[in-house]
């Protein structure tokens, strides 16, 4: 078992015939992902890696059972593609697009919530359960990062993920499921909303959170831990501890929360809730060793 994407999750690829779509479709299949079909308007009748392409999600859904949709769709068309997937009742959606307009992302998240669905992203590499399946773009062949194991990883940062996860693996662990929440100010799904999945996952012993300054996602994790909604060990790494404040524009989200959003605030909240906060990526592995061995 793993979370979000499992070995039997039937995945539809929207934007399958594009350059990125076809390239990563191949890799998703190679890893073992059950890609059942694809969608590109106007391209019905084509195949990608032996999977049939349809004009629309509805047409694909009429022919296949679909559990999840993987979007390789440009940012300006992402809202449309997500709404299309939701309209066909798809409950798990991953979008990698970097550059989704803010107000559209708000509408995407609102629509997903009112449909009881989960949208992961945008501005992410996606979701991977190493050795099992993935939705997104992960170089799973890099073994010193994508080793299967029992540590869950959630990250806001694309570039830090490999760095930190490599330290998890170097410390002798592997990854159960890695979820790229995405780097946008309004991610489709938030850290805390993923925790129930990790909590229930029998293959996850602890969760690593790769966060950064801004927003309140780390504080929400702390809250879930304090409330007893999440009970497994948490190790967090937060980038930007020494970042000078003046150089960053005021974060709109910080207004409401009265001073939340600083790295210090996040460290305090997480620490008080019982999480361990690593000062350096390397310490993530060491803290896991302390916790689990």
């Amino acid at each position: 078992m793993s979370i979000f994407i499992e070995s039997d999750t039937r995945v539809l690829v929207q934007g399958m015939t594009g350059k990125e779509g076809s390239f990563w479709t191949k890799h998703m299949i190679d890893l073992g992902t059950q890609v059942v079909a694809g969608v590109t308007p106007g391209k019905e009748g084509l195949e990608v890696e032996g999977r049939p392409v349809y004009h629309s999600v509805r047409r694909a859904a009429a022919e296949h059972e679909i559990d999840a949709a993987m979007l390789f769709v440009p940012p300006r068309f992402t809202k449309d593609a997500v709404f299309e997937a939701l309209d066909s009742g798809i409950q798990k959606i991953v979008t990698i697009a970097d550059g989704i307009p803010l107000h559209e992302m708000v509408q995407i998240r609102a629509a997903a919530r009112s449909n009881g669905a989960m949208v992961v992203g945008g501005n992410t590499s996606g979701v991977i359960s190493p050795g099992t399946a993935m939705m997104g773009m992960f170089p799973y062949w890099i073994e010193r990062v994508y080793t299967p194991g029992r540590i869950g990883v959630m990250t806001r940062s694309g570039s830090l993920t490999n760095e930190v996860t490599a330290m998890v693996v170097r410390a002798g662990f592997g990854v159960s499921s890695l979820i790229g929440i995405g780097g946008d100010p309004v991610p489709g799904t938030r850290f805390a909303e993923m925790l129930p999945l990790y909590e229930q996952d029998r293959e996850t012993d602890a969760v690593v959170i790769i966060g950064e300054l801004g927003g309140t996602m780390e504080e929400e994790v702390a809250e879930a831990m304090r409330d007893g909604r999440f009970t497994k060990p948490v190790v967090a790494f937060l980038g930007g501890r020494t970042a000078p404040k003046g150089k960053r524009m005021g974060h709109a989200g910080a207004i409401v929360t009265g001073g939340k959003g600083t790295v210090e605030g996040k460290i305090k909240a997480l620490t008080e809730a019982g999480a361990l906060v690593a000062e350096r990526p390397r310490f993530v592995g060491e803290l896991l060793q302390e916790l689990l061995k």
Binding site: H103, A110, S125, P139, S157, S159, L160, G253, P281
Partner: protein, 372 residues
């Protein structure tokens, strides 16, 4: 994209939000010239993007022409203030805070207001959170009149001031929508002694991802703190200027920020932050050129890429070295997709690729300190 106050106020004016009479000027004689039009007393408002202008003495209130000239000379002479907005003073009775932003948790727009305006809302949120009223707005439905109505009465407003404020809130939300705003804020919104509601300041930040449909805003030099940041922005390369001695040329915001932290932990100092990842991983020549314009002692490259292929980066780096003949050492830690090939390329060019970020940081700090 954060707009200048004068731009935000132009938007306000065209959307029916009253603003005081004002003229934008760039020279001291112009200030003298417009005083007749604007009248005295007035306010000389430095058009800079950073906050805390009041505390920094950048918006002096002037009562005489002499005072106006003295202050204009001080501000425009500082080179940090390219433009002044000369604005009529308002006879203030009270100040209100008003903004529209996005609530990423609830996935709504959010109107924030307070009858206690003129202070920083973040401060107010900590000291007197009960003085802040909020109204979430479903972006798909838009702002409904009943919400505006309820808001102004929650602010304790009445009669004609309530009516004017309703109009301001309605128009402010229309701006939020039309301009794909991340934040649009009026702080303070004046209520004058004549019971007129007027925007005293204006802040408008347009979502970067929506700039394709927001025409008419060109990013000139005035939007940046330094020439270098402006130059990098022209290339689409995220860049921040510091005064240390290690130039960073790293992949992505998260990793670059982490390397920045590690440099500081190791006792080093950063000359510049530069993201050489994501869409910029093929821009090695341009990125290195930017780094070389700094008076840094070493360039530190740390990447761990997926889409951004390590071999392509390595080729770019070698190409940049061949073209630019850098006058300072380069430390590389280039990993990720096709890293074996990257290592071969870098070694062939005489570089010594490292594989551990902390090791690379320590080496760069040592070089900067003259230790190797």
């Amino acid at each position: 994209m954060k707009l200048f106050e004068y731009q935000a106020k132009e938007v306000f004016r065209s959307h029916g939000i009253p603003v005081p009479p004002s003229v934008l000027v760039e020279t001291v004689p112009e200030v003298q010239k417009v005083l007749g039009e604007i009248g005295l007393p007035c306010v000389l408002k430095s058009q800079v993007l950073r906050g805390g202008r009041g505390k920094a003495g950048l918006i002096p209130f002037v009562r005489t022409e002499e005072q106006a000239v003295t202050e204009a000379q001080r501000l425009l002479g500082s080179e940090q203030v390219p433009m002044l907005l000369v604005e009529s003073a308002v006879d203030i009775d009270r100040e209100i805070y008003l903004s529209v932003t996005v609530d990423p948790v609830a996935a709504t727009a959010l109107i924030i207001a307070s009858a206690a305006g003129g202070v920083e809302i973040e401060t107010l949120a900590q000291t007197d959170p009960e003085k802040i009223v909020q109204e979430p707005v479903d972006i798909t439905i838009g702002l409904m009149p009943y919400q505006v109505n309820d808001l102004v009465y929650r602010l304790g407003l009445n009669g004609d001031v309530a009516k004017q404020t309703k109009k301001v809130i309605t128009n402010l939300y229309a701006i939020f929508e039309a301009y794909d705003a991340e934040l649009v804020e009026i702080n303070p919104l004046f209520v004058s002694k004549q019971a007129e509601v007027i925007a005293g300041d204006g802040k408008l930040i347009i979502d970067e991802n929506s700039m394709h449909r927001q025409k008419g805003y060109e990013r000139t030099r005035a939007y940046y703190d330094s020439d270098m940041e402006f130059e990098a922005a022209q290339e689409g390369i995220p860049y921040l200027q510091f005064d240390g001695d290690i130039s960073l040329m790293c992949a992505g915001a998260g990793l670059t920020t982490t390397v920045y932290d590690l440099v500081n932990y190791e006792g080093g100092s950063v000359a510049n932050y530069l993201e050489f990842g994501g869409p910029n991983y093929r821009k090695a020549v341009r990125a290195m050129e930017l780094c070389l314009q700094n008076e840094s002692k070493v360039i530190l490259m740390v990447t761990f890429g997926t889409i951004a292929r390590a071999d392509v980066m390595a080729e770019g780096i070698v190409d940049a070295i061949n073209r630019l003949h850098p006058d300072r050492p380069i430390v590389t830690c280039i990993r990720g997709t096709n890293e074996e090939e990257a290592v071969r390329i870098l070694r062939a060019a005489g570089l010594e690729p490292l594989f551990d970020t902390e090791e690379a940081v320590r080496k760069a700090v040592a070089i900067a300190k003259g230790a190797c």
